[in-house]
Subunit: 419 residues, 2 copies
């Protein structure tokens, strides 16, 4: 069989290490010239495939591709664009195949979360139906750490390291100021449905009394009285209280706390920010001075403090994806398999896309303490290996030197397609 | 003259490198046993002196003091407690001298900002008036970078490196998502009265078109129409827009934007957060999807990405403070003197406390572009050397290993004093 080109796209929210995976895909593809011609990347993800907006990664130097390893964000652009079912979105799936056929693409690598695994699976189905030979590989990525089967998700370990480091550092600050000033500090972190990132904050507490003293998980219904009593108790005992709070904390009514209450001067609901809400509550009810931070995109783009373990795994899934592809495996996703926690040993396994598609992995209840306010030893044992090791980027003029690719377009061969 | 003990206290908001200065003071004092007996630290700053709550730093191992170099926060506690004029606060100043006399303290090192320089100066005056021999040295520290005379303030370079790195990283993220999702990203930073930290965000932009595209300084009155037009223009031109915004941005009425408008469900003014305000404005007027982050304490405690230049300078002022003291200089503060910007060369000079006390150094107008939205080449030339070099802390279990001192109290000799 002659070499076919490959298509690679980044999907959904980007991470500090999705480009590390891209480097793994492209560098490995370049070693398999017998099977893989050029790697075309979708500009802005799958939209690039639908609109035939392809980037020719062969125009990038080895040094530029190497620099992707340490560059956050999505180098080719990503998108939030979900393909629906095969019946509903038939025209789009057919268009994908049309574009792949026009550009002699025989490999489809889709780098994303649950939705992307689902899309990859459906693309493999439509290719079969249409009799177009296409190897479809899902490549895992999500800071939410909620993919099924894989032990952890590339991108998560680095967020975990960032939030745990940040809340530890802020804790040292608050502890110094508590006598006369701030006593309560709240860090809001991502993870709307699963509390993995919130749990990672808990790693910063190595001894009783150290912060974070309280974690608020999306999995645990917010109980205002119990919460305030715990904050009050912590301040009395330790002089201050630091909290890691998920953006997805919900009240007894099942609504996000962040959506309940704040209005601007015109009475419009104020969007975003559970941290300021909790802070206001602490001030109103406990009369404590507070500070709050919302890390938002900083947490998922903080390549400067990436976890080395995460960086290695992110690269490894990219490399494995290509190796599976050239072996002709299709409809699969490389996953991370934990062999042991102490010492930490992992390897790359293979999952069927249909088993990953649209499944969500929540925090097991026994990863959260019975009172709902912290992580258990079992959770710590799971999380700790994922933040091991530092993987610093190079610096230029005192700041991390990240790469911007040339992103040269592949000439179009087809007519326009409206998305 | 027999050796006298020294008193050291941390004052005001702590930083990523105030403990680096503490290490400079204590390690250098330990080398001057002929002049300096023990170094006593004030627990929670000057309050520790007033309440005779002293920490005996001689009980800490050399390794622990060394570890202070890379530990954020204030290891002995700090406070927001301003001594007033000599007439008004006479009892307090006299109490300080009483405590110093009781503990044979002949050196007073006060590590803080403008207020602290003022207090140090007043303490030196009262000591003279009361005929108590006391060497008074101010030691500079403030993330606000607003101290007079010194070229920069220890603590600032590290915040500068953190905010510039963070906004660059978030910019890579937003650029990837802009096609279908977030187009405007706002990072709120500290600096209520002076825009130095906001200016530091600007370092992340090395080429036209890169973020941050817009900076909002406390020095420049917020003009809503001009601002919205600029955001709109940037999104049209570059596809997205990232902004560094000072917490102290003021509207034409002279009030902080963050105080104007947000109400909770009960109609109470909502405290804090200019970023969500600006975000709401962008959404309402320009219909763009936004994200915002508030770094808050994370920025000033981010020892994991401290500037090496800042760490060296922070240590150097601590060391110089002790060297000045043993030479008998009093009523002074070691300062950083810039000898050249390219290549960057600096040395330690000496300023009179009375010249530093209560003066504030604002951003020169020619450090801000004429349109008020960015920094000039002159500003960049000033800022760039301050973020040079990395000074990583050691890691343990994947997280920065910071030290907690034993902080053993010196037995009290006096009665209580009500503060």
């Amino acid at each position: 069989m002659p070499a076919k080109n490959a298509f690679y796209a980044q999907s959904g929210g980007v991470t500090a290490t999705i480009n590390t995976t891209a480097a793994g895909v492209i560098e490995t593809a370049r070693k398999h010239r017998k099977h893989i011609g050029k790697v075309y990347a979708g500009r802005d993800g799958i939209i690039g495939a639908l609109t035939e907006d392809l980037i020719d990664t062969s125009k990038e130097s080895p040094a530029a591709i190497r620099a992707l390893r340490h560059t956050p964000g999505g180098a080719f652009g990503s998108c939030r664009y979900k393909l629906k079912g095969l019946a509903e979105s038939r025209a789009q799936y057919e268009r994908l195949i049309e574009v792949f056929r026009a550009h002699d693409i025989g490999y489809f690598f889709y780098n994303g979360g649950n939705d992307s695994a689902d899309t990859s699976f459906k693309v493999s189905q439509i290719a079969q139906t249409l009799g177009y030979p296409l190897v479809c590989i899902g490549v895992p990525k999500t800071v939410d750490n909620d993919l099924a089967i894989t032990d952890t998700c590339p991108g998560f370990g680095s967020v975990a390291k960032y939030v745990a480091t940040s809340i530890r550092e802020a804790g040292y600050d608050v502890a110094s100021m508590a006598r006369t000033s701030t006593r309560v500090f709240i860090l809001e972190v991502m993870g709307r449905h699963a509390g993995w990132i919130t749990a990672a904050c808990g790693l910063a507490q190595e001894k009783e009394g150290e912060g974070p003293h309280i974690l608020l998980f999306p999995e645990i219904v917010f109980d205002q009285d119990k919460f305030l009593a715990r904050v009050d108790d912590t301040v009395r005992k330790h002089g201050y209280c630091t909290l890691g709070v998920s953006e997805g904390v919900k009240g007894p009514d099942g609504k996000f706390l962040s959506e309940s209450g704040l209005r601007d001067a015109f009475g419009h609901a104020q969007l975003g920010g559970v941290a300021p809400m909790i802070a206001q509550l602490v001030k109103d009810k406990l009369k404590q001075k507070y500070h709050w931070a919302v890390a938002d995109y900083l947490q998922r783009s903080a390549r400067h403090i990436a976890s080395k373990t995460d960086a290695l795994q992110s690269y490894a899934v990219g490399k494995a994806a290509v190796e599976l592809a050239v072996k002709g495996r299709s409809g699969v996703m490389p996953v991370i398999v934990r062999q042991s926690s102490k010492p930490y040993r992992w390897t790359i396994g293979v999952a069927e896309l249909k088993d990953v598609a649209n499944a969500e992995k929540f925090m097991p209840r026994d990863y959260i303490t019975e009172d709902g306010f912290h992580i258990t030893a079992k959770c710590r044992q799971y999380l700790e290996p994922l933040v091991q090791g530092e993987d610093y980027p190079p610096y230029r003029n005192g700041l991390p030197a990240y790469v911007k690719l040339k992103n040269i377009s592949v000439p179009k061969k087809l007519g326009a397609f409206k998305i």
